[in-house]
Symmetry: C2
Subunit: 216 residues, 2 copies
Amino acid sequence: MRIGIFGTGSVGSAIGSRLVELGHEVCMGSRTAHNDAATEWAGAAGELATHGTFADAGAFGELLVNATMGAGSLDAIGAAAPADLEGKVLLEISNPLDFSAGFPPTLSIKDTDSLAETIQRAFPGLRVVKSLNTMTADVMVHPAQLSASHDVFMSGNDAEAKIAVADLLTGFGWPADDIVDLGDLSTARGTEMYLPLWLRLMAALGTPAFNIKVVR
Amino acid sequence: MRIGIFGTGSVGSAIGSRLVELGHEVCMGSRTAHNDAATEWAGAAGELATHGTFADAGAFGELLVNATMGAGSLDAIGAAAPADLEGKVLLEISNPLDFSAGFPPTLSIKDTDSLAETIQRAFPGLRVVKSLNTMTADVMVHPAQLSASHDVFMSGNDAEAKIAVADLLTGFGWPADDIVDLGDLSTARGTEMYLPLWLRLMAALGTPAFNIKVVR
């Protein structure tokens, strides 16, 4: 599949490299056509990897991935041509973290809304599926690295789009039983508001290499 | 030990009954001296169980438990005589859930503050330890009922108070390895903000009988 990724940070790079490894063609988009991080990533990731502007990534992908910082998500996706978003699945990974008052960050959107819903409202042609936002980048794409089974959540309004995202997750190594469908996109309020606990767990454990398992 | 519980709901009853079962003397406090739920609970829970006003519970307990609805916590604890709070450990279990706009509730305090910190500021003589607020009442006191190991979090500023709470948790059946000390009381922002995810998980799973395990 051809996949366009918005964002050149650790999440964009990890997702992009894993997708290329799995045989997908990936275009990593950023604000400018010659972003250093995107150029370096595309150079290292192999023949299936290219880079360009956010608009280039939007045009390239049959499926899109939002891996920008939450504060930049609307601008990044909005840089794509509206026709290039129409009907496409967006795997939405970002979190509305606000670092303006230092660490730990607070949330700029929360409780009665979510970043995922904000993106869906701003770009109604997209089929937004929130997932993977509750863990560090390397765990997203190599889930088997942890010592036991753990879960990834999924929120979205479109059943087919969720199947497409679940297929990607399976490709990354997620067993079907560890993919928890929380329901419609408003349930992303739950996973985005988990971030403050994730941040405290990272501090207490001294590592970002962890995730949670729902135990019944 | 003599323990005073603020609150007569499912959390207060579950904690109270388990403490009595473990040989502690428990006074369940409510707004009035003859609250129906408290009277019924004390009648059923056996000789070590009594009930009274919030002030009675505050005076009775060497250790106190806040099991009220979050919106009522300050009033409940404030009904105790200030001298009866001085230096005591408060196991703080409540969540700042706001049901005014229906279900799922939102949070009345969040992100830059927590209910636990609000209580600590209002009653500086207390040694507040936030714990157990991330699961349903029955799982709090019978953790072994779930199918695998899972975790309980703890936040607080006083190391001795945390040891006292950890001892109670151990009595309830929590293995020491499953008690995760997150750090100071501000980390309660994390566990309180987990509630929106807990609520969506409850809906998706169709049961409140679950908890999470941190997997490294």
